[in-house]
Amino acid sequence: MPQRDVERFERVVLPHLDDAYTLARYLLRDEHDAQDAVQDAVLRALRYFDSYREGDARAWLLAIVRNCCLSWHRRQRLARASVPLADADSVDIGPGREADARAIARSERAAIERAIAALPSEFREVIVLREVQELSYREISDVVGAPIGTVMSRLSRARKRLADALGVGVEEVG
């Protein structure tokens, strides 16, 4: 591949590494596996860079990351007895003054991470693509290879589960 294509690849694809890594972290729930999967995905992306036309490079890369995570997960399931759950740092908040704003924010993040980690993978991926990556339904449909109607219903069911897990009730609905 000529040098200018290498430069184009770096310009088009590499800015999305954080998003790629975030998706892999949520899908694989392990930081080392996520690193390996993203490296694998970038390798595949550059081998298939010819097939990338103008368009949303982020969605294109995320689709490859997602596929790498799926095959990574299959391999690891065979290799290991169990997959460790997310290292969501559970924080004990002491009563009263110790429960400062930062501890609350930390425990909120941990609660959200646990709730997302507990979702079945087909729900987890649409939630991350929508709420974290803010992709449109059309883009999510392309990334996960499912019709838009399916994306819509998975998102809806995923949100209901998250609402239950996080205890989102009428009280806090503004």
Binding site: M1, H32, D33, D36, M152, L166, V170
Partner: protein
């Protein structure tokens, strides 16, 4: 519009993904149905809460370094299904790489042999191996930052199970492992990073007759540190400065215990 149909569309309303006419119908229903309106508010509040509190990760520096190193490999862009393109660019690149290796290793060999601080066949071979590992595509056979991936990879490939401690927290991310051939024997090499530097850690079964030893050699900006871990002969080679390499080895020994 009935409640059942409305519920199916609520999430899409939250995401502003409904066409105008459907959006108007759903809104009209919500204005007259308290149950559906509450369901909508719960979905919207959940979405808001996730967006505000969810952790967005950053790709770690190690990962970026691994990807940069991958991109610099000449065959990285080769299409998977095709044979490598024949022709001048690739050939000249290989020839140039070979030349660099030849020049670098002869210079080092010469330097090492001159020193008289017991550089023997092994240290010369280790230096050659270290420099070869820095050539594109020669560093790592099993790229992984996971010790539980790297360690089992050596099973059946070498006559020992090398120590692969996790040194992330000490600032030495694991980059992977490779098999190498040094001074007449297959050796396990575990590769760590430190900023832009590479540390190769070699292990092979030591000879029982050998006296346990440890020591350090400096050569042309490279450093070699030798020690014994039980019956295993260990060497660390890097272009890190002397003190930093010693620190690394101390961290390695402490974690491998």
């Amino acid at each position: 519009m009935g409640c059942v149909e409305c519920r199916d569309l609520l999430s899409a309303l939250v995401d502003d993904e409904l066409p105008q006419d459907e959006r108007a119908e759903v809104r009209a229903h919500l204005a007259n149905c308290a149950d559906c309106a509450r369901e909508h508010d719960i979905l919207a509040a959940t979405s808001r809460r996730i967006r505000e509190g969810v952790v967005r990760h950053q790709a770690p520096d190690v990962l970026k370094a691994r990807i940069r190193s991958m991109l610099s490999q000449p065959d990285a862009f080769a299409p998977v299904a095709e044979a490598p393109p024949a022709g001048r660019p690739r050939w000249t690149m290989l020839a140039a790489a070979g030349l660099v290796i030849a020049v670098a290793s002869s210079a080092l060999t010469y330097g090492a042999l001159r020193r008289g601080t017991s550089p023997d066949g092994t240290t010369v071979a280790l230096l050659d191996s270290h420099i070869r590992s820095l050539m594109p595509g020669h560093m790592i056979d099993v790229p992984s930052s996971n010790q539980h991936t790297v360690k089992p990879w050596f099973n059946g490939r070498v006559d020992l199970s090398p120590a692969v401690p996790n040194l992330d927290s000490a600032g030495y991310p694991l980059l992977g492992g490779r098999l190498d051939y040094v001074a007449g024997r297959a050796v396990a090499v575990v590769v760590y990073g430190r900023r832009q530097h590479v540390i190769n850690v070699y292990s092979w079964p030591g000879e029982p007759a050998d006296t346990p030893r440890s020591g350090m050699l400096d050569e042309k900006g490279y450093h070699l540190l030798e020690w014994r871990n039980g019956d295993v002969e260990m060497w660390a080679v890097s272009d890190l400065n002397r003190g930093e390499l010693q620190q690394f080895v101390r961290a390695f020994q402490a974690a491998a215990r």
